[in-house]
């Protein structure tokens, strides 16, 4: 008797989690099969919907901007309704850990590169840092966190034309770690309020060190490493000691905000009763005509079938390895779905690093139900849908739309899979 569910979701990131939650809302049994830890830990933890169209932006109204997208963009298929449904599922899953749901317009969040990013949802700890708030800001970096230079962040933020003054200072962290200590090490020290050399708590010593630099700024921004399990407590203590609001600036990998989002999503899956099988890759399938019967999971050299009525493919894009490529062609490795691309691989990219690359839009071509289609436009399988980065047509890095595309396509794919199972 094999393992059997109504809906099987293949993948472990934002799209997979959302598709599983959407399918679970229909009351069906759902299992998620994930391989590696998801690319969420490399992501900012912000939920972007749409910030730029064809290099033009930042756009304040993501819904209004959708009309300017090309016809084969996933948003044109799922519509505003699909995006709103995706955000609803997300908001339910993360509860009050995220802000931004009060408005339809994009928030502008300073990032660790000093750019200002249009985004739809952001962690609470990021909220006091929004660029639209008319309060002067002091950015604080630590000597050993070389990828976050507070003065550079401040200068860039000011150059972006924000309505406030910003300044950056670099100070030593009150506890000395090894030179290449990870963000998680700083977070843990603050979480536990570890003691410094003179026996005082690190939170207090840090607040005092920052206070020396604080003039009349009304808020202080740190790289996102202010605690993990007790992050709210860390931030509250710093705020009360400093007497100003404290915010986090999303960082690059390993991103604690991304890690926390991953944890929260998996908690939501567990609470919703979604079953989880993690650690092994999906490598193939068994079909009867145009219906998939089972997905094979490679459990260290042995393929185990996972049966279901309906399947959702949410394995990610090129970075997440849901889309593969070699020197010859671009593929979708699990079901070998059609992925349109030029035969000449020199057409796959542009010479400019931030150019309009074809590879950025590589992915399966969905129909209006998010079923991947063949070259002739027919569904590849009657009971397979796709969501997230594996879906082509969006240049999510240029558009700042990665999370929104994941949420919207997952809401439609997962919801339909659940209804039909």
């Amino acid at each position: 008797m094999p393992i059997r569910e109504d809906v099987l979701v293949v993948g472990g990131g934002l799209a997979a989690a959302t598709a599983a939650l959407a399918a679970r809302e229909t009351g069906k049994s759902v299992r998620l099969v994930a391989h590696k830890k998801s690319t969420l830990r490399q992501a900012s933890g912000l939920i972007d919907v749409l910030g730029y169209v064809d290099g033009d932006g930042p756009r304040a109204d993501p819904y209004g901007a959708m009309a300017d997208l090309p016809d084969d963009h996933p948003y044109r298929l799922v519509g505003e309704e699909g995006v709103r449904e995706g955000l609803r599922i997300f908001d339910d899953a993360v509860g009050d850990a995220y802000a931004g749901g009060h408005t339809d317009t994009n928030a502008l969040v300073p990032t660790y590169g000093g750019t200002v990013k249009p985004t739809a949802r952001y962690p609470n700890s990021v909220a006091p840092g929004l660029a639209s708030i008319d309060e002067d800001a002091l950015f604080v970096g630590f000597e050993s966190t070389t990828d976050f230079s507070a003065p550079v962040v401040a200068d860039h933020v000011v150059a972006a034309g924000v309505p406030f003054e910003a300044r950056g200072v670099t100070i030593p962290f009150p506890i000395r770690f090894r030179d290449d200590a990870r963000a998680s090490r700083f977070a843990r020290a603050l979480d536990r309020d570890e003691t410094t050399d003179d026996g005082r708590g690190v939170r207090r010593v840090l607040a005092e060190a920052v206070e020396e630099h604080l003039t009349d700024e009304e808020r202080v921004g740190f790289p996102a490493m202010l605690g993990d399990d007790h992050d709210a407590e860390v931030r509250e203590e710093l705020e009360s000691r400093l007497g100003v609001s404290v915010f986090e600036v999303p960082t690059g990998p390993p991103s604690l905000l991304g890690l926390k989002l991953e944890d929260r999503l998996f908690e939501a899956l567990d609470e919703a009763g979604v079953r989880l099988s993690t650690g092994n890759p999906a490598v193939g399938y068994e079909a009867d005509g145009d219906r998939i019967e089972a997905v094979y999971v490679d459990r260290k050299r042995k393929e185990i079938p996972y049966h279901a009525e309906q399947f959702v493919l949410a394995t990610g894009g090129l970075v997440g390895k849901g889309i593969g490529s070699d020197r010859e062609r671009v593929t979708e490795p699990v079901f070998d779905c059609y992925v349109p691309h030029s035969e000449d691989r020199y057409d796959w990219s542009e010479s400019a690093a931030f150019g309009d690359h074809a590879f950025a839009r590589f992915g399966v071509v969905p129909d209006e139900e998010m079923r991947p289609t063949t070259a002739s436009g027919e569904p590849e399988f009657a009971n397979l849908r796709a969501a997230g980065g594996v879906v082509g047509g969006a240049d999510v890095a240029r558009e700042k739309s990665a999370s929104g595309v994941s949420l919207a396509t997952a809401a439609v794919a997962g919801g339909r899979a659940g209804e039909e199972a």
Binding site: M1, P2, I3, K36, K37, T39, R41, Q42, F177, R178, A181, R182, S184, R185, R188, P253, P254, L259, R275, L276, S277, T278, G279, N280, V297, R299, K300, R301, K302, I304, V319, G320, K321, R327, E328, D344, R345, Y346, S351
Partner: protein, 433 residues
């Protein structure tokens, strides 16, 4: 302008038979290379490493694997001695988005370190050799279990162990059973069920043979209930403690026996079942990564953890839904080596549906003991620091009985909380037999 921007000679078509590996010498000896080039330094492995989390001096899996390999390419570089601080939890494997075989690289590096850099007369070497060959001690000790149990946990002996051997005096040695599993098995006359189709060969490993035969007996009773014919072939240690201590020659000798015994049975239609997740991990992953005995690949492909096997081949879910047991609550910890095989959720998922049982996952932290690691006097504190989060979650869980598949995790759980620890097979036995 680089060649990549302006390919000078061949067109892409002419390059189709280009095999990048051909540029290197034809290597027959294992080195640290496999997959190193796939590492793009995203540090996912470092953030998953339980040792790096608590030990500021430990450089982490990225350094121990791909970076160490790059350094080693210059011939006169030694293996960095921090390799002995890796606990072989193998979490880095699971974290790497590029499928770099990190634990394989660590095992290889550790083997090279022990072979070429470690003083074979040093206390550390002798201690590690002794710990990783636990089975030999166990075999002798279990001949006179009561005497051994008394002697090993005598405080003078413990002090001697710590001062002379470097084995921590903080821990109590696990008790040897009055009768080993194999003795019991022979006494009962071996298999009680015969079947043409359903046949399993049981890899009991050392611990359930010498220390917790009740786990092995539970496996036998549960599988016989489902109509399986069970074989218990001659076997040696799975090799896990030897990999973790860089004793690859010892591990190879043990693996050769295991592969030969079990692959013969696979030819006769048996699948290999283990009740310890480190044993199944070793047969599945480490054997084919490190050895090339005839039958290694077959053993790897046919090895399963016990409950995993039942879930694939039987309707365990329906059986559990129709069963009930006396009211009890468990704090479940998934061992690292269960996680790496994709088994971390199965016990909680299944027992949640069992009438009378309340089971709670105590979170994803490592228990910290990692086999022999937490027994070393110099690693004991690190081991307990890693375990802190698990102890804390266990104490906050409703149950005051722990549950896990791994014998050393269970030692650590017991050591840190004082709870009794059960194996999922014991609860399965209670529910179904």
């Amino acid at each position: 302008m680089s060649d990549a921007e302006n390919p000078s000679n061949p067109t892409p078509d002419e390059q189709t038979d280009f095999e990048p590996v051909q540029v290197f010498d034809d290597e027959t000896e294992m080195d640290l290379r496999p997959g190193a080039d796939n590492c793009y330094k995203c540090t996912s492995c470092d953030t998953s490493c339980p040792v790096a989390e608590v030990d500021d001096d430990f450089p982490g899996p990225k350094f121990q694997g791909p970076e160490q390999w790059r350094l080693k390419r210059k011939d006169d570089e030694d293996i960095d001695d921090s390799i002995t601080s890796c606990s072989n939890c193998m979490r880095c494997d699971n974290a790497c988005p590029s499928s770099v075989p990190l634990s394989q690289m660590h095992n290889t590096a550790r083997g090279e370190y022990v072979d070429e850099q470690m003083d074979k007369l040093s206390r550390e070497y002798l201690r590690n050799r002794l710990l990783s060959n636990y089975r030999i001690m166990a075999e002798i000790g279990s001949k006179v279990p009561r005497l051994t149990n008394f002697a090993l946990n005598n405080s003078l002996v413990q002090k001697f162990n710590e001062k002379v051997l470097g084995i921590t005096a903080e821990r109590d040695f696990p008790a040897f059973a009055e009768q080993t599993f194999r003795e019991w098995w022979h006494e009962r006359g071996g298999a009680q069920v015969s079947s043409e189709e359903k046949k399993i060969a049981y890899f009991h490993g050392c611990y359930s043979n010498y220390n917790t035969p009740e786990v092995a007996k539970a496996l036998v009773r549960v599988f016989e209930k489902f109509g399986y014919e069970i074989a218990v072939p001659r076997q040696r240690c799975s090799g896990t403690p030897m990999f973790a201590n860089g004793m690859l020659d010892d591990a190879g000798r043990a693996a050769e026996v295991n592969v030969s015994e079990f692959s013969d049975l696979i030819d006769e239609g048996y699948d290999v079942i283990a009740s310890c997740t480190s044993c199944s991990m070793s047969l599945r992953q480490e054997y084919p990564e490190l050895f090339e005995f005839h039958g290694t690949a077959e053993v790897s492909a046919h090895t399963y953890e016990a409950m995993e096997y039942l879930r694939i081949h039987e309707d365990l879910e329906a059986e559990i839904e129709n069963a009930s047991v006396e009211e009890q609550s468990f704090a479940y910890h998934a061992p690292c080596h269960a996680r790496n095989q994709g088994l971390e959720h199965q016990a909680v998922e299944l027992f949640r549906e069992l009438d009378g049982v309340n089971i709670e996952d105590v979170g994803d932290s490592c228990s910290g003991i990692s086999g022999t690691y937490g027994w070393k006097e110099e690693k004991y504190d690190t081991s307990m620091k890693i375990g802190e989060e698990m102890f804390d979650h266990m104490e906050h869980a409703e149950g005051n009985v722990g549950m896990t598949e791994c014998p050393t995790c269970s030692m650590q759980m017991e050591h840190g909380t004082g709870y009794d620890i059960k194996h999922p097979l014991q609860l399965l036995e209670e529910a179904l037999v």
